[in-house]
Each structure stands twice: as C-alpha cells, then as structure tokens.
Amino acid sequence: MNIEQPSSFAFSAENLEKAKWHIAKYPDGRQQSAVMPLLDLAQRQNGGWIPQAAIEVIADMLDMASIRVYEVATFYTMYNLKPVGKHFVQVCTNLPCWLRGSDQIMAACKKVTGCSNGETSADGDFTVLEVECLGACVNAPMMQIGDDYYEDLDSATTEEVLTALKAGQKPKVGSQSGRYTCEPAGGITTLTDRYPDRAAKAGGDD
C-alpha cells in the first residue's frame, strides 16, 4: 500500500450512531458480524475508500484483530483501499455480461474517461474497475457507478451515461434500453390487462 495514509480516522457523530445501530443487531460476542456495514460506513465517510486507520478503528470497535478486518476489506471489490475517483465505475465482465458485449463497455469507458481497468482519471472524476458478477445478468451488460446500476448498456448508452456524469448531470438509472426493470426485453406477456402500456407488441418474439 504505497499511498499516503491519514494518520487517524474517527467516525462522525452521525456515523458512529449508525455503527452502534449495526453492532446492536448482533447478539453478545458476535459483534464481529457488523464488520461489513462498518467498513461501508467508513468508506462513505472517507470519500470512497478505507484508510488503514479506519481498519484499526473498526477492529478496535468490534474487538477483532486488524488483520481479520483487513482480510474482509481486501476480499470484496466494493471496498477500496486506495483513493478512487468521484465516480467509481464497476463494470461487470463475467460471462453473461461478456457474452452481451462487456468488452465494448470497457472500451467506451476508456474512450470517455481515459481509464483502463483499475485506473483513475487524471482529473479525479472516474475510477474504472472490472468486477465479478453484480447480480444483474438478466439486464447484461451492466455497470455500477457509485450506488447505482446502469443496465442494458451498449457503447453509445455507456458513453452517454459517463458524459452526463462528467458534465455534472444525473443520468437515468437502471435499464438504458427503455425496458421496465428486468421485464422481458420485448415487453410483458402476462398481466397485460393490468399494465397495457408495458405489453409486448403483437408479433414480438419474447
């Protein structure tokens, strides 16, 4: 970890309250179970990444060894142990997304942000990372930016989303192809009487 680490870390009053709420969810002696929500809180408070000092604070709070917290923090891609850009772009490149063209999504990311896998853009706006399955295979290919999922992407829509973010706008979250959540791409074939506007057009193939 050859990055500048802050010398100390402390939860804000509000986050400390939340941390206590998480810890209280678990029975006595099982407080370690709260390690993941606490790491998440620390990451949000610290601008998207978890410093060493926060790991030690959390280890202390949960009465576990620092190395055990560190193990958890390194295991999950959602925790960052070094500073990331304002927009943290995680592109799924697992099999379903890859079959549906995640290579083009990565290429589009590179085109707009200038970042290859694992890099942060010079202006600090973007960090792009290839990740494992994010559980949205039905709307593949997809990427996660911050807390939001952008699905049914192609080169053009990826570029649109990223350009909008770069311009400080808030692009539409979810499917970019116009379908409603993860319903069939051609529209629904059941309950059509209740949601006639989302029904498949006659002759649709799915």
Binding site: S66, I67, R68, Y70, T74
Partner: protein
C-alpha cells in the same frame, strides 16, 4: 458408533470423526495439503476428495463428518481423476522451480505430484507472480509458490495465539501476508515452515544451505529451555545444519520454539576447541596434559572446603554425576547446580518439578501462575496452556507484571503478598482454585530464586494444599524450571552437602578468599565479578562469561555433540544423541572430568558411558526409566515467612538465554527486529 464402509471394508469409527480421519484409521492414505491434525479444518485445497455413494459430487473428506452407513471409495479411477484435476489446478500457478527450491525433497506438493500429477501441463498462459513478503528474520517467503492452504494462518492464530498472519484478497489474487509486513511476533513462528506443504515459507538462515537427502538425521532432545522438546538434529559432515521438531505427544506435540530451531548457528561461533591455560594474565593455548597439570597444581594442598563447583544450565547428567563424585573425592561439599540461587528443596522432588506433567495441563480446570512468564520460559508449554484455554472453562490468573501470554489472564497484581492471601484463602481467586477439581499452580523459577524464595515456595505449597490441588491422582503444584540441567542436577544431588556452600555463598567465598578453586561446569549465568581472585576452571563449549574469568579452560561438547541424559522440567529422563563430533580438541564432558580425576589421584570408577549411566541409576532410581516420569511423593517443603515485593521475570531477552543462543547471529537478528532493538526499520529493509 457409526459404521462406515471404506473401499469395501466395513469399519467402526468414533462419532464426530471426519471421513479423512476414518480413512487414516483404516490405513487408507488420503492426500491433503490444507488439513492438519492439530489445526482447525479449512477444506480449501480439495486434494482429499473421495467418492461417496449416493453423493452426486466428490466429497472433501477432511471436512465431512462420518455418518452411519456411508460408503466411501478412496482408490477408484474416478477418485484418481478428481485428484489429478485438483493437482492440475494447483500446478497452474505453482512455479516449476523445484531445482532451486529449498523445500525440494521434502515437499508435499512434489511428493503428491508424483502420484497425481500429469506428465505435462496444458496451461499455456502466464502464471501468476506474487510479491514476496517480509515475515521477519526467521521465515523466508517465496509467495509465488503459495497454494493458499492457510495452515500458517491457522497455526499462528490458533496455536501460537498471535494475529499477525492473514489471507487477503480472493481467488487468483489471494495472498498470505503479515499485517503491515511485520515480523511474526511469536516464539513459535518457525513451525509454520514445517507446516507449509510447499516452498512458500522456508527457513531464512537455512536458505540454500543443504538438501534433505544430504543430511544425517539424529534424534535428540533440546536444551534451550527445560521442557526437553524432542528434536531431530540434521547435520552434514561436522556441521549442524538445522534442528526440526520430532513428535512427542507428552512433551512438545510437534512444535518447537524459535530458539530451539534457530540457535544452532551459535554452535559454530565462539567455540572453545582447545584447552587454554592463563599464563601471566593471558589465556594461552595448551595441550590437555598441560591444562590438567595446571589444575592439579592449583588444587594441590587445598582443603576440600576451599574447592567449589557450580554446574550451568546446559550441563548434562553424566558430567554432573562425575563432577559431583570428583568433588566428593577431593573432600568438598561445596557444589550447586542452581546458578540462579533457586530455593527449591532438593530433598523433595515434588518441590522442583512440574508435577502435573505437560500433557496434564489439558486435564486441569483452573490455573494460577506465580511470577512466571511461560511464553518465554517454556514457549511450547505455553502453547499447551493456550490449547487448554481454547477448550473452554479454564480460569487463568497470574501474579506478576501483566504481559501478553497469548491467552486472556486475570492479572491479580505484581506483589508476592497476593500469593499469601491466596494461600490464606482470603483472596477471591482462592475460591476458584478450591472449587476446581484439578487446579494447577505454576510457580516461576524466578519467583523461587528471590531472597524470600523459600517462603514463596512454602506459600505456593500451602496454596496448593488449601485448594486441594494434591490428591491421589492429581498433583497441581508445579515449578516451571527454565534450565535444561536443573531437574537432573537436583535429582543427582548436585547441591551443597553436609556443611557445603550454595551458589550465593560460593561466590561470596570467592570474594572473601574462603573459596580458592572454583570448577565451573558450563556456568555462565553467574555474577563473575569476584571470580578473578580464586583459581577458576571453566569446562564448557563456548567462550562466554565463565571462560573470560577462567584460569584453565577445558573444552567440552555442546548438546549436539554428546550422548547425554537430561531430565526435563516434569522429571522426564530423556537422552540426547551425538549428531556431530566436538570441534578440535574438545571432548565429551564426563570423559574430561574422568581424565582429570586421574591426574588428581582421585580416579573415578568409570571407564565407559554405560558405567556412568549405571552410576546415574545408583545415584537416583528415576534414571532407570528413560522417557518416563515417576510421580514425586508430596511432602513438606518451603519455609514460612514474610514475602513482599513485586515479582519480576527472569528472562530479559527470550532469544538469548544460554551460551549457544548468545553466540547465534540469527538470535541477535531476532533480538533486533522482534524485540524492538531495531527501531526505525521497515519491511523494505529486509
């Protein structure tokens, strides 16, 4: 008990066993990397796959408990194919660098690849490469070789009780690290080298030094502390290359301390390899006859009461017996094997041994530690205490400065007065000891070496009596000796005889001139400031404190260079064996004293080692049972009297406690890095 069919034969096994253990019991070998008897089950290497009827998938036998009626196959072609598959995956990222790997020849992966490996690889892509980690001066890492079995992580967390090591990342990016690249802060860290099934963690001092098949393996016992761990001394030619643990369930299971393992490079430095005689204030090389003549000249005309002998911490029983008889022959009763001034009662064996036995720790149900730091005085024994702690329901309290013993301890305070309160039953912990069925009290060797040590000993005995710690089948009173020679010396009566002086009085006598000749048998841990007055004969193997003040030096043999008997802290008589010959003109210690007795016209009746060993049995029948313990009868010992003042621990530096470890460069490095002598160093310096 469940019945399980393994390869067509039915076996009855204990409930709760795993399939792998059942297979072992049935004599079926199951290959494994991550599974280890003494560690928790991880189930991550998948090498132990077996086939089970009615199970659609292969089963990891190490993690699957047996159930009645299971039908398991371990030797079908399918099983072989599965394991071949696992092996192929393991070898995808494992470098094929066996020719330059120190594990070569004793590598689990290499061995099992012979049975399950393919003749060629099908993987054409680049192998992964992992940066090596810094784990301190003892453990060398080549992390590209790691197969992520996590044995080292489990050992350090569970057995050693330190939370330094961990597995970070996941999948292909998984790596074994120490937190922030620190050295592993355990006295048992070297054991991860034995546990590592591949060449990822190897011995740093032994790097590229030898191949296992070049080594002569000698089974022996360790002398770096009083536990007498079973060791194997690997030597090549005249050189001890390394020390490894041997299995001895009663003593060390299969662990040894870092000092035991790594102090052996001290056997090559600072050695006394020829006799010396002080001429005009300077030590000059001499021949054996010249040295003996000088001793004879010094002793001639001296009264027995003007001659004294002190035996050091590494002295073997044979040489102590022969020296004792020589002293008796010269008319002297001034001798002591307790160079620390311990006040244990030589007449009561129960007062100086670890009566509960080391294995007995696992049966105890409450523990009081008095003025001892078992983590440094007997690290492997400390691991037993931790093992017992992990079993649960084991209250542990201690009197002494609070330290990290690798298990939680209720620190009652530092003052010896607390022991008096417990003995009197007025302290709350006395109640806990009393309600326990098999309470244990461990008294440190430092606690009974204080000026009021006899009273401390007496109080500890009282506390044991009051707690009901001594019954027909349990003796919970223990003294934690820390010198390999101590129990043996006391068993042989190498203590002041009628009107004789003990260590303290011998040293006082040296200052006043009452003692004119002192024979130091490897005694280096005494205060040598007044020893320039008397004539000092130093017999030993290292040029340490004793040799510096000597007038005659008789070069002896270190523990790897002689067939010798030692009695460990629990009173177990064990034999060490000669692995290499003593360097130069040095000789086995009992032979030196026997030869000297000739020159002094006090010839001793021993000509062979067997004679001496018969003498040992004659001196004390406990020497009859090799590797055995004889329970010591309970009796009155210790004195009554005031005790006060805080306990302190006798060892200031774990890595340097005897002449061998003080001469060891590796131990010096450990002192520097692990004990904080090397402030300002970072992992990148390594």
């Amino acid at each position: 008990m469940p019945k399980i069919t393994i390869d067509g034969t039915e076996h009855e096994v204990d409930a709760g066993m795993t399939i792998l253990q059942a297979c072992e019991q049935a004599g079926k070998e199951v290959p494994r990397f991550c599974y280890h008897d003494r560690l928790s089950i991880a189930g991550n290497c998948r090498m132990c796959l077996v086939q089970m009827e009615r199970s659609p998938k292969p089963v990891a036998s190490c993690a699957m408990p047996v159930a009645d009626g299971m039908v398991v196959y371990t030797d079908t072609p399918e099983v072989k194919k599965m394991r071949q598959g696992v092996m192929e995956f393991l070898l995808i990222n494992h470098p094929l660098d066996c020719p330059i790997c120190d594990q070569g020849g004793e590598c689990d992966l290499q061995d099992q690849a012979m049975a399950y490996g393919m003749d060629h690889g099908r993987y054409k892509e680049n192998k992964r490469a992992v940066e090596d980690k810094h784990m301190g001066p003892l453990i060398k890492t080549i992390m590209t070789r790691c197969i992520h079995c996590t044995r080292c992580v489990r050992f350090s967390t569970e057995v050693a009780g330190v939370t330094d090591m961990g597995l970070i990342g996941r999948g292909e990016n998984a790596e074994i690290v120490t937190y922030l690249d620190q050295a592993v802060s355990s006295e048992l860290s070297g054991n991860v080298i034995d546990l590592c099934p591949v060449g990822a963690l190897t011995s740093k001092p032994y790097a590229f030094a030898a191949r296992p098949w070049e080594l002569k393996k000698t089974e022996s016992v360790d002398v770096s502390d009083a536990q007498g761990c079973a060791i194997r001394v690997d030597s090549r030619g005249p050189e001890v290359m390394r020390v490894l643990p041997r299995l001895n369930e009663d003593v060390n299971e299969e662990w040894i301390s870092d000092k035991t393992r790594y102090c052996v490079d001290g056997l090559k430095r600072q050695r006394l390899d020829q006799p010396y005689v002080r001429v005009k204030g300077k030590l000059q090389p001499a021949t054996w006859p010249e040295a003996f003549a000088a001793v004879a000249k010094a002793i001639k005309g001296k009264q027995g009461s003007e001659i004294a002998a002190i035996a050091g911490d590494l002295a073997d029983c044979e040489s102590m017996l022969v020296l004792k008889e020589l002293m008796v022959g010269l008319g002297s009763t001034n001798m002591d094997c307790r160079q620390d001034g311990s006040k244990v009662d030589p007449a009561q064996r129960a007062s100086y041994i670890f009566n509960s036995t080391i294995a007995g720790i696992e049966d105890a149900d409450a523990l009081l530690i008095v003025g001892a730091n078992p983590r440094w005085e007997a690290p492997v024994l400390n691991a037993r205490i931790r093992k017992r702690y992990l079993m649960g329901k084991f209250p542990i309290a201690a009197i002494g400065p609070a330290i990290d013993l690798s298990y939680p301890v209720d620190w009652l305070g530092e003052d010896a007065d607390i022991l008096a309160q417990i003995a009197a039953g007025t302290h709350p912990f006395a109640e806990i000891l009393k309600t326990a069925e098999r309470p244990m009290i461990i008294v440190g060797s430092g606690a009974v070496a204080r000026p009021d040590g006899a009273a401390v000993l007496g109080l500890a005995r009282q506390a044991a009596d009051a707690a009901g710690a001594v019954t027909a089948d349990w003796n919970g009173f223990n003294v934690l000796q820390r010198a390999a020679s101590r129990v043996g010396g006391l068993d042989l009566g190498f203590v002041p005889g009628e009107g004789g002086m003990d260590t303290g009085r011998i040293l006082d006598g040296a200052a006043t001139g009452a003692v004119k000749v002192i024979y130091l048998l490897g005694a280096d841990e005494i205060d040598t400031k007044d020893l320039d007055k008397p004539f000092v004969i130093y017999q030993g193997h290292h040029g340490d404190a004793g040799a510096h003040v000597a007038d005659v030096i008789l070069p002896g043999a270190a523990y790897t260079e002689k067939d010798a008997t030692y009695v460990n802290l629990e009173g177990r008589v064990q034999r060490g064996q000669l692995a290499v010959y003593p360097p130069g003109d040095a000789r086995e210690d009992w032979k030196i004293i026997r030869a000297l007795s000739d020159t002094l016209n006090a010839t001793l009746p021993y000509t062979t080692l067997a004679d001496v060993r018969r003498g040992l049995v004659k001196a004390n029948p406990v020497f009859q049972g090799i590797d055995d313990i004889q329970a010591a009868p309970w009796g009155e010992f210790g004195t009554t009297g005031e005790v006060s003042g805080a306990f302190t621990y006798p060892i200031a530096n774990f890595y340097m406690t005897d002449p061998i470890s003080r001469a060891s460069a590796t131990m010096a490095e450990c002192t520097d890095e692990i004990l904080g002598g090397g402030e300002g160093k970072t992992g990148t310096d390594g």
